[in-house]
Amino acid sequence: MFNEETLARSRELGKAWHAQYGKLVEKFGDSAPERSKSPATHSGLPLKPAYFPHDIADLDDDLIGAPGAYPFTRGNLAAQYQLMHWANQPVIGYGLPEDTRNRMDALAEQGMIGYFGQRFYNLVYDLVSHEGLDPDHPAARGRVGQCGMGVYSKADMDRLFAGMDLTQMNVIHITYYQVVPAFAQYIALAEDRGLTPDQLRGNSMNWYHQSAYVGMSAFPPRQGHKLAVELINYCAEHMPRWNTTNFFGYGAEEAGGTAVEEIGLMLAYGIDLVRACIASGLEADQALPRFGFQIAQANDFFEEVCKIRALRRIWATTMKERFGAEDPRSMHVRIHTHTSGVSLTAQQPLVNLIRTTLHAFGAALSGVQAMEVSAYDEAFAIPTEEAATLALRVQQVIQEETNITSVSDPLGGSYYIESLTNQIAEAALALVDEIEAQGGYVAAQESGWLRRRIEASAEHWRELVDSGERTMVGLNKYQTDEPPPGELFALDPEVEEIAVKRIEELRANRDNRRWEQAMAKFTAAAEALASKDFADLDGSLIEAAIEAARADATTGEMMEVLKGALGWRAPHEF
């Protein structure tokens, strides 16, 4: 990377620096913070107090490369934000479809924008839908429209997108395990409006492995894995522009995972998923270009920046070398940043605006494609419109006031950044090897190994916070007596009543014969899927789901079928 002369000079400078640094530590060391003696990242990777050219002398030039060039350490494309900004993708969803639509329109009016003038709507479903229920189920009481939108049918989709041109937007459907019903209902709505599925743009979560880290009911991991491949197969044939799968690294981080664990786990699952896609008859280059990533941006500023760069590198090299991917889009890691919610505090909540600004700033410096910035009042309730607008303003200030968007990968070439990027990449690859040695990600989920690993990190984090070793301003340091927070979001109690009434009316008025036939076919397809191998997957379950959605099947009805056929349980005894 550097010639001998440069390296010799670098070592000389390093030696002189070290002598001076040593003197300072000797003089002030007793009163200096612990981190000055053994600096490390939040993942626990050792750091040096200063970096020099010789620290990256062994690093192959080609691993750094250029923006838009393999292995994409410096970014997917030659142009980063010069031609278009990253997409604003705030999470939106509460109450009735109409409530969510109001918030969508309000944020659009405030300048929320995707690529080249298109809008991205990042829509989260409610707790009832997440559990695979309808609003009239006894367990739905008090949860309808909470933490997401109450959308349970094609008819609700129609209310949500009333009067909008579905071809002019990108819709991200944030679901847990009700991926298939939501996807099918969206397609059925589009068909009602004279469109074909291939005209739609957006994302499905298609991520059945959140239960690897958190105790929630889920399909058994292998059945979920098949559902994911089934949807990828359907899209490969019918919806080439649909982003099939959202690698939910954010969930691993929020559950306690470190930066290294977050990206290591995503690559490990990527290997398992591509293997399964190939087993089902797809080429790597058919599946990979439609994968996306939702990645956290948390407090250790440079580690989080380098994490993104490292993920791009190890994904590209693995997909190319291991699976023979040739299309550059197969090697790209398209990232939707979600600023870390777990880093926020209920204490002194306005301080969260400062934290989220730093998170978003780091994401921008890493060259991500889209961003959701958490609202400062998240630790209390669903964000108010004011808080949601301020979160959008964080993105807009960075995008339009700081001028950092003028240059691609502005931190590239820094001795520190390149060295740390490499450290994180190597640590993540070592974790991937550990998981592969157990038979892959899904096997490590089934055995509970992933859960134990993430939980150990969560406990370690909490110990550091409790002991004060990790500062959280307002929580374990600089506490104040505060008045209770001001205006918080509260859901209109009418929401539940209306949602229940609507679902009852839907059931009473739909063509029952058609519904019965479609549900019988969907049930048969689900039962068939349960005993299929990957080689037998062909997208037929999705076709049957779309037919059921056309016949006004609800989320709860379709999920009941899937739960019955595939199994459904809380994965972790405790």
């Binding site: 707790l127 997440h130 559990e131 006894p138 367990a139 009481r141 008090g142 949860r143 909470q146 933490c147 847990y176 959140q210 958190v214 105790g215 929630m216 009911s217 969930g251 929020e254 559950a255 306690g256 777990v342 505090t345 209920a346 204490q347 630790a379 209390f380 309730a381 669903i382 939980e455 969560a458 406990e459 909490r462 409790d466 959280m472 929580l475 209770p484 927070p485 918080l488 509260a490 859901l491 809380a570 405790f574």
Partner: protein
Amino acid sequence: MSSEIAPGAPIRVLLAKPTHDSHDRGVRLVAKKMREAGFEVIFINFLMPDEVVRAAVDEDVHVVGISASSGGHLVIFEDLLAGLATAGRDDVVVIAGGVIPPGDEATLREWGVEAIFGPGTNADQAIEMIKQRLAAISP
């Protein structure tokens, strides 16, 4: 009926979290810390509050802690407290944790929820509260 704790017997706690509320990192740490403090802890995910009532009765616990971080908590506590009363177990100490909006705290306390541990709480605070509360009925 376990309104009294036999000398030397451990405090029994049931911690429960709704299945669809994925934010369980805090409550699982609390479970671990309580075990380290000598409590017997049962942890369940539940869909319906009556599952919690049943587990509390079957396991003969002194304390039920509900962790709720995604809303919908009012209904859970309403049904849980009613269910415990119907089962003749209104002696069970009910506590709450997670993200409970401050505006709901008064209602929950009025219903009989004895403590609410919000974001940022140290697990030791909950352990201390339980020890003190149960010391009153422990011979």
